[in-house]
């Protein structure tokens, strides 16, 4: 491998990885206070990318405005998901099996809605700063990569600030530590669950928006996003937001370099193989001390 290839793969890997990091963070946020893994997580990314295409490509709205409307709309769908499905499930303390089935049900509903409105064909979105490849250290990278890198970095940093320095973020952490004690301290756990689900839908939407110019948008990509986001979350430890981010970037790098050495058809095989390997060998994640998973 030449140095130029290396630079190119490194940048592609990190930018793809930061998408996975955003998806993984969505899983972590919900899991922290409810112990629920939502199989509908990837559908929010699909909705995000499809809505973004509608607003910016079809309706020709400015990028920033389309972005904001999309995020708000998907956040609304997330709120609806929480009120109609998550809340009864959590309140009725449904079994894990039933939670899996119900969230799969939701993902099927969202998938059908996406297919009805946007059809089955893949749709593209042009990169945020024009479609000319960008030269970096003499290597050519995808024009979307710097956007992905910078925006996801900002969002990941904002999430850390949110979790550590705001009232809501600390309430979320308290719920994760001990929901009952948090309740006794006057924290409304129901409220915390609500905004963590909405927030994770928003994170999903953003990751979908950012990745679309690189790949494309299609109604049935949700399950792949779900599994990859979960893989990243598992890699870093599902309880640990910082670990989930690092796990995402690691996964992106593994995938990009793996594809370079094998072939692009094996892209998902590599990621999911990594997931299986981590689950079999160290299911608590590679950044968590044993037993804290």
């Amino acid at each position: 491998m030449e140095f130029l290839d290396f630079i190119q793969l490194l940048i592609t890997g990190i930018s793809e990885g930061s998408i996975y990091a955003l998806l993984a963070l969505g899983f972590t946020l919900i899991f922290k206070c409810t112990n629920v893994i939502s199989f509908a997580q990837g559908e929010f990314a699909v909705l995000g990318s499809l809505l973004m295409i509608t607003f910016s490509e079809f309706l020709r709205l400015p990028l920033v405005i389309s972005f904001i409307i999309t995020v708000i709309a998907v956040g609304g769908v997330g709120a609806l998901f929480e009120l109609t499905t998550m809340r009864p499930l959590v309140r009725g303390s449904a079994s894990i099996l039933n939670i899996i089935i119900a969230t799969i049900g939701v993902s099927m509903v969202l998938k059908t809605i996406a297919k009805l409105f946007w059809g089955a064909e893949p749709i593209g979105l042009s990169s945020f700063g024009g479609d000319r490849p960008i030269e970096f250290l003499k290597a050519f990278v995808h024009p979307q990569s710097p956007w992905i890198l910078s925006l996801s970095l900002v969002i990941l940093a904002a999430m850390i600030v949110f979790l550590d320095y705001t009232r809501q973020g600390r309430a979320l952490k308290a719920c994760a530590e001990n929901a009952f004690a948090a309740k006794l301290m006057g924290i409304s756990t129901q409220h915390v669950v609500f905004y963590s689900v909405v927030l994770s839908a928003v994170l999903g939407a953003i990751s979908g928006i950012l990745i679309t110019p690189v790949t494309f948008a299609q109604y049935d990509l949700g399950i792949i996003y779900t599994v990859k986001g979960f893989s990243a979350a598992v890699l870093g430890g599902v309880q640990n937001p910082l670990g989930a981010m690092v796990g995402g970037i690691l996964l992106g790098l593994l995938e990009t370099f793996g594809v370079f050495f094998l072939s692009s058809g094996y892209k998902d095989v590599i990621t999911l193989g990594v997931l299986l390997l981590v689950l079999f060998l160290k299911p608590e994640g590679i950044f968590n001390p044993r037993g804290k998973g």
């Binding site: 893994i37 199989f39 109609t84 499905t85 009864p88 499930l89 009725g92 449904a94 894990i96 099996l97 039933n98 899996i100 089935i101 119900a102 799969i104 049900g105 939701v106 993902s107 099927m108 509903v109 998938k111 059908t112 809605i113 297919k115 009805l116 399950i223 792949i224 599994v227 979960f230 893989s231 598992v234 072939s263 058809g265 094996y266 998902d268 095989v269 999911l272 193989g273 997931l275 299986l276 689950l279 079999f280 299911p283």
Partner: protein, 323 residues
């Protein structure tokens, strides 16, 4: 003895009614749907034991169906061997792969098990697409010979209907017997509390692996039957969606009664035909039904029907002198 006799009498009646169904409906496509339902029902029965009774979810069984289908197709269509050899080599391959997968995968629980099996299913379907020389890649394998034993070759929908549903009948009875035996109680015990069962001296790990491999072999059988029935297979038939579809059959039908799996398989194959006008919405409607079933009647349709049956029976038996 009486109850055993009664139970098998009910089974025979159930299947007698089922065999009357195509005659009663008298439409050409009914056999096709019934045959596909029966093929799905075979996998659903295995999943009922694994997911419904033992509580170990799998989203990878479409992968095992693909394994059976492709092994059959390659052995019979490409190597020109007999159909039975194809099916049995499917069994052998599937049990080896399922056994090797089960050892690490069944250490996982809940979400992790679900994601791991889903990952396995997706990996397998991608491998089927990539290994073009063996599997025909995205195009698949066509011109698979029909099912035959010795000189007897099956032709026509009715012949397949009898073959498929006879196999379903035998396996249905088998699953019912398992449920009624001490093994059934062990499986249900594992679902409720693994540790308690293992404290009672049951080798939980071994039993879980055996059930996993058994359900995988059933999936392989149904895949082989599918290949010989449809005569054409392609990777998109055995996608992750099929795995979800199969799990849906088990949960819509309900896990309390064995016939729930049959009900689920029949329902999910007949509904698309009946709701043809709403074809675009059908997946979404199923999704909605799943959410509602989990929230409103977590034991599924079969338990719900039995409950309603019980209530109406009571109405008839007790004289109505409320006022």
């Amino acid at each position: 003895m009486r109850s055993v006799f009664l139970e098998s009498y009910k089974t025979v009646l159930l299947f007698f009614l089922l065999f009357l169904l195509p005659i009663a409906l008298n439409k050409p496509f009914v056999y096709t749907i019934l045959n596909i339902s029966g093929i799905n029902a075979l996998t659903a029965l295995g999943l009922l034991l694994l997911v419904g009774y033992t509580g170990q979810i799998s989203f990878g069984h479409a992968g095992f169906m693909a394994m059976g289908a492709y092994t059959s197709a390659i052995v019979v269509a490409k190597l020109n061997m007999s159909v039975l050899t194809g099916i049995v080599s499917g069994f052998v391959l599937t049990s080896i792969v399922a056994g090797l997968l089960a050892i690490p995968v069944l250490k996982l629980k809940g979400y992790y098990l679900a994601m791991a099996t889903l990952a396995f299913g997706i990996i397998f379907s991608k491998l089927v697409i990539e290994l073009k020389e063996l599997t025909g890649g995205p195009v698949g394998i066509g011109e698979i010979p029909p099912f035959s034993i010795g000189n007897l070759t099956l032709h026509g929908e009715k012949a397949y209907f009898i073959l498929i549903w006879s196999i379903v009948f035998i396996l249905y009875q088998f699953c019912k017997n398992i449920e009624a035996s001490h093994i059934g109680r062990i499986l249900k015990g594992i679902n409720i509390d693994e540790e308690v069962v293992s404290c009672l001296g049951v080798e939980v790990r071994r039993i879980k692996i055996i059930v996993f491999v058994f359900s995988a072999v059933l999936a392989s059988l149904s895949g082989s039957l599918y290949a010989h029935y449809m005569k054409y297979i392609s990777p998109e038939v055995f996608s992750a969606d099929l795995s979800v579809f199969l799990i849906m059959m088990v949960f819509l039908g309900g896990t309390r009664y064995v016939w729930g799996a049959l009900l689920g398989a029949l329902l999910l194959n007949f509904l698309p035909e009946m709701l043809r006008a709403y074809k675009d919405y059908s997946i979404g409607l199923y999704g909605l039904a799943l959410v509602l079933i989990v929230l409103l009647m977590p034991e599924g349709l079969s338990a719900f029907l039995v409950k309603i049956y019980g209530i109406t029976l009571k109405r008839f038996r007790t004289p109505m002198i409320q006022n």
